[in-house]
Amino acid sequence: MNPVQLFRLEEKEARFRSPSFFLRILLLAFFVFTPFLFRSFEVLDVVLKIIIFAALVASYDVILGYTGIVSLGHVLYFGIGCYFVGIFMGKLGWTSYGHLALSFLIAIVISGILSVLIGLFSLRIRAIFFAMVTLAFMEFTFILSSQWRSVTGGDDGISFKLPGILAIDFSFGKILGVEFSGRIISYYLILLLSLFLFLLMLRFVHSPVGRVLQSIRDNEQRSIALGYRTYLFQVIGSSFASCVAAVTGGCFAIWVRYVSPDSSLSVSIMLDVLLMVIVGGMGTLYGGIFGAAFLMVTRAFLPKLQVLIASLLPGIPFAIRLSERWLFYFGLLFIIIVYFFPKGIVGTAQEILARRKRE
C-alpha cells in the first residue's frame, strides 16, 4: 500500500470518532430543530439565510479556496437561479412542481454554459482576467435585469406564489406544537437541498478532479509539468461552482418569494459573500457556515444597536451617521481579517488543532 492509501485508510477509520464529526452532527441537528426551538419568524428567517448563504459561500470557496482563481461575479449565477424561479412562477404563472423543477434545471444548464464560456475566453490568458471579466458580466446582468422590464419586472422585481405544499396558506397540521405551514415545509426543503449541495461539494473537492484543482492552486507550473491541462480543470471547477450557486439562488427565491435586481444580483451581495468567505476561512468549505452566521446575526442585531447609539448620543448627527454606516465597519473588519487572520475562523481553528495534535 502506498502512503496516500495508508493516509486515506487512517482518515476513514478516524472519521466517526473525531470531535469535528460530532460538531458537524450537532450543527445539523441545530438546523433541523430550529423551527421547534424558536417560534419567531425572524429567527427562522436568519437561520435559513445562514443555510443558503453557507451553501453559496461554500460554492464560492470551491473557486477561490480550492481552485485558487478569483471570481468577482459569482453572484451572477445566484441571480440566474433566483430569476428563473421568479420568471417561471411569477411572470409566466406556471405554478406547478414540474415547472419549479424545470426552472431549476434551466438555471443550472444556463449557468453552466455561461460559466464555461466566460472561463474559456478569460482564463486562457491570465487568471486575473477572470476576476475582471466576471465582474463586468455581473454588472452587465444587473443592468439587464433592471432594464428588461417585460421579462424581469425591472427594479420592482417579481413577487410570486409557489405551488401546493410550498404555498404560504397551506397547512399540514401541528407536529409537536408547531404548525407545519408552507413556510416550514419550504424551510426543510431548502435545508435538504443545501445539505445535498454541501455533500456534493465535499465530494467534489476530495475527488481526483478536486485534488488536481488544489495542486493547481498550490503550484500551477508544477501541475502543468505533471501533464495536466490546468486551464481546462479551472474551467471545470468554476462551472461546477456556478451550477451549485444557481441552485442556491433558486432556494433563496423559494424562501423570499420575490426577486429583484438589488436582492439577488447586486454587487453588495458579492461583497457579503467575499466577507463571509474571508471571515469563515478560505479553502475549508465549512467556513461558509461560520462566515454566514457571523454576518447574518450581526446584521440582524445592528438596527437595535443603532437605536441604542442614537439614544445614547442624542443631537449629534455625525455620530448617528457614523453608527448608520455599518458597512464601513465591515470594510475595516475585512481589511483587518485579511491582514491578521488570513485563514479565517475555521482555518485558524484547524491550524490550532493540528498544532496540538502534533504536540
Binding site: 478569460s122 465582474l135 463586468a136 457614523l322 464601513f328 485579511v338
Partner: protein, 328 residues
C-alpha cells in the same frame, strides 16, 4: 495572419466603429453623437489610464480605483462650491474665469486624492505586494471603506453638481448643434493624454516606469528604489481618477456615492481592451467604448451596455492580451 496586418488592426477597428453608423444616422446627428462619444471616451481614458498603469506597473488590480474616482467628484464638487461662493467665478461672467474655476476645482480634487492614494498605497496595499489574491481582497476592503466614508462625510443622497455658467448650452456651427462641455472635456482629456505621453516618453521617470511595466526586477537591479516609483504611480493614477471623476460629474451634472462602482466596470473593460499597462491602448480602448456606446445608445437605447460587452468579447477572442500589449 501576417504581423504587418496585425499591427494596423486596432486602427482598423477604431475606424470601422467610427464610420459604420454613417449608414444609419443622418450626418448632423452623427456629428453630435461623435462629439459626445469622444467626450465620454476621453473621460473614460482618464479613469482607465490610471487603473491600467497601476496594474501594469505595480501589478495590483486596484478595485478601489472607482472609490478614488468618487472622491475626486465629491472633492471637486465641494471645491467648486466653496470657490464659487468666495469669488463668484462660476457665475454668468467671462468664459476665462469659468475655465479657471473649473480647472482650480479639478486641481484641488487631483491633489487631495493623490494624497489619499499615497495613504492607501502605503497603509493598505504595500503589505500585500506579490499576492494577487490578497490584493484583490484588500482593495475591495479599501473600496468599501472609502465609499462609506463618502456617505459619512457628505451624506448618502445624490447631489446636483454645479456647472460653470458658460459651460452650459451649445454652439451652432454650420447648422450642427455642438454642446459646449463635451468639447471642453475632449480638449482637457487630450491635453492630459499628451502630458502623460510626454512624461512617459521623454523623461527619466517615464523611462523607469515603462521599464518597470516590462520587468520590475530588472529596474530594481539597476539600483532604483522601485517602491518609491510605485507610490508615485499610484498617486498619479489616483489623481487622474479624481480629475476624471470631477469632469464626469460635470458631464452628468450629478454625483452619488456609488458612481465609482459603475465606472470601474467601464475602466476594467477599457483596460482589458487596450492592453494592461498601455497608455495608447487606454486611449484607443476608451474611444472605442465611448463611441460605440453613444452610437448604440442612439440607435437601440437598451443595448448600449451590451455593445461594450460584445466589444470586450470580440477583442479578447482575437487578441487575448489587448490591442497594445507592449506597455507603451
Amino acid at each position: 495572419m501576417n504581423p504587418s496586418w496585425r499591427r494596423w488592426l486596432p486602427t482598423l477597428i477604431v475606424f470601422a466603429i467610427f464610420l459604420s453608423p454613417f449608414l444609419l444616422i443622418s450626418p448632423k446627428t452623427y456629428i453630435t453623437l461623435t462629439i459626445s462619444g469622444l467626450a465620454m471616451g476621453m473621460l473614460l481614458f482618464l479613469v482607465s489610464s490610471g487603473f491600467s498603469l497601476i496594474f501594469g506597473f505595480l501589478s495590483v488590480l486596484n478595485l478601489a480605483h472607482g472609490a478614488l474616482f468618487t472622491w475626486g467628484a465629491y472633492i471637486g464638487f465641494t471645491a467648486f462650491t466653496l470657490i464659487n461662493k468666495w469669488t463668484g467665478w462660476g457665475g454668468p461672467n467671462s468664459m476665462i474665469l469659468n475655465i479657471v474655476i473649473f480647472l482650480l476645482a479639478l486641481i484641488v480634487a487631483g491633489l487631495l486624492v493623490a494624497v489619499l492614494g499615497i495613504i492607501t498605497e502605503r497603509l493598505v496595499i504595500r503589505p500585500v505586494y506579490g499576492s494577487h489574491l490578497f490584493q484583490i481582497f484588500i482593495t475591495v476592503g479599501a473600496m468599501i471603506v472609502m465609499e462609506e466614508l463618502i456617505r459619512i462625510v457628505w451624506g448618502p443622497n445624490d447631489e446636483v453638481m454645479p456647472v460653470p455658467f458658460n459651460f452650459m448650452g451649445s454652439w451652432d456651427l454650420f447648422d450642427v448643434v455642438v454642446s459646449k462641455y463635451p468639447l471642453i472635456a475632449i480638449v482637457v482629456g487630450l491635453i492630459l493624454y499628451i502630458v502623460i505621453f510626454m512624461i512617459l516618453r521623454k523623461t527619466k521617470i517615464g523611462t523607469i516606469v515603462r521599464a518597470g511595466v516590462e520587468n520590475p526586477e530588472m529596474v530594481q537591479v539597476m539600483g532604483h528604489n522601485i517602491y518609491r516609483y510605485f507610490t508615485g504611480v499610484f498617486a498619479a493614477g489616483s489623481a487622474l481618477a479624481a480629475i476624471g471623476g470631477g469632469m464626469w460629474a460635470t458631464f452628468v451634472k450629478s454625483i452619488h456615492p456609488a458612481m465609482g462602482g459603475e465606472i470601474i466596470v467601464f475602466a476594467l473593460i477599457v483596460a482589458i481592451i487596450g492592453g494592461l499597462g498601455s497608455m495608447t491602448g487606454s486611449v484607443v480602448g476608451a474611444l472605442m467604448v465611448g463611441l460605440s456606446y453613444n452610437y448604440v445608445a442612439y440607435l437601440v437605447p437598451k443595448a448600449a451596455l451590451g455593445i461594450t460587452m460584445l466589444l470586450l468579447v470580440i477583442i479578447l477572442s482575437i487578441r487575448p492580451t489587448g490591442l497594445f500589449p507592449e506597455g507603451t
